[in-house]
């Protein structure tokens, strides 16, 4: 099955500071997905990356894909309280249709 390692497991950041979350896959990727989840709620789709070197942005959130390393990073610029939550990376391996997830990164933004 797809193995996805996310780091860090959790982080606390001061409001206005930047933060980065990393996700590494043990399998060759078809697609890498980033989701955000508020505690006890469903997952909100942020973005999907497929091509090596691809970079996408949504408001102050940017995600990049390093296909050779099978890694993706999610970067939040000038964090706000609304950025608090659990960030999950998901991936579909090449030749597969199963979306598997990492354990998630809990982000806390301190005012």
């Amino acid at each position: 099955s797809q193995e996805l390692e996310q780091s860090p497991q959790s982080l606390i950041v001061q409001e206005g500071k930047n933060l980065t979350i990393n996700c590494t896959s043990s399998k060759t990727l078809y697609g890498l997905y980033w989701y955000k989840q508020k505690y006890g709620e469903g997952l909100i789709f942020l973005m999907m990356l497929q091509k090596g070197g691809e970079e996408k942005s949504h408001e102050k959130i940017t995600a990049k894909l390093d296909e050779k390393k099978q890694q993706s990073s999610l970067h939040i610029t000038a964090s706000q309280p609304s950025h608090a939550g659990i960030y999950l990376c998901g991936a579909v391996a090449r030749g597969d249709y199963k979306l598997s997830f990492g354990a998630g990164t809990t982000v806390t933004v301190r005012a």
Partner: protein, 113 residues
């Protein structure tokens, strides 16, 4: 466009009782997934449907879990009998195909006491 709709939102049952969860995917999405998410972990796939066919149910504990997707639209996931370890959030997701994002519902939080 309505999103993926799940019900109930919360459910508390005693162990050994049956429970059922319902999911209505986005119209036109042929692929439907059921995931289970334990506290502090990422979601784990239970079953995937392509239309009305269960194409991947290898992770579904078939001794107590069952699922159906009649007419390739709505789906129901059932647990009978429930055990304490089944307490989790059960998530439903749908997609037109894997080239697009998978849309998740709000989930059903199950507590077995």
């Amino acid at each position: 466009e309505a999103g993926v709709v799940q019900s109930p939102r919360y459910k508390i049952i005693e162990k050994k009782q049956p429970v059922a969860f319902w999911c209505n995917p986005i119209s036109g999405h042929n692929t439907l997934y059921w995931y289970r998410q334990n506290l502090g972990q990422g979601p784990e796939l239970l079953i995937r449907y392509e239309n009305e066919e269960a194409v991947d149910d290898s992770q579904l504990p078939k001794d107590r879990f069952s699922a159906e997707r009649l007419k390739g639209v709505d789906s129901t996931l059932k647990i009978q009998p429930a055990e304490l370890g089944d307490s989790a959030v059960y998530l439903c997701a749908s997609s037109p195909d894997r080239t697009y994002g998978y849309t998740f519902g709000s989930g059903t939080r199950l507590t077995v006491v």
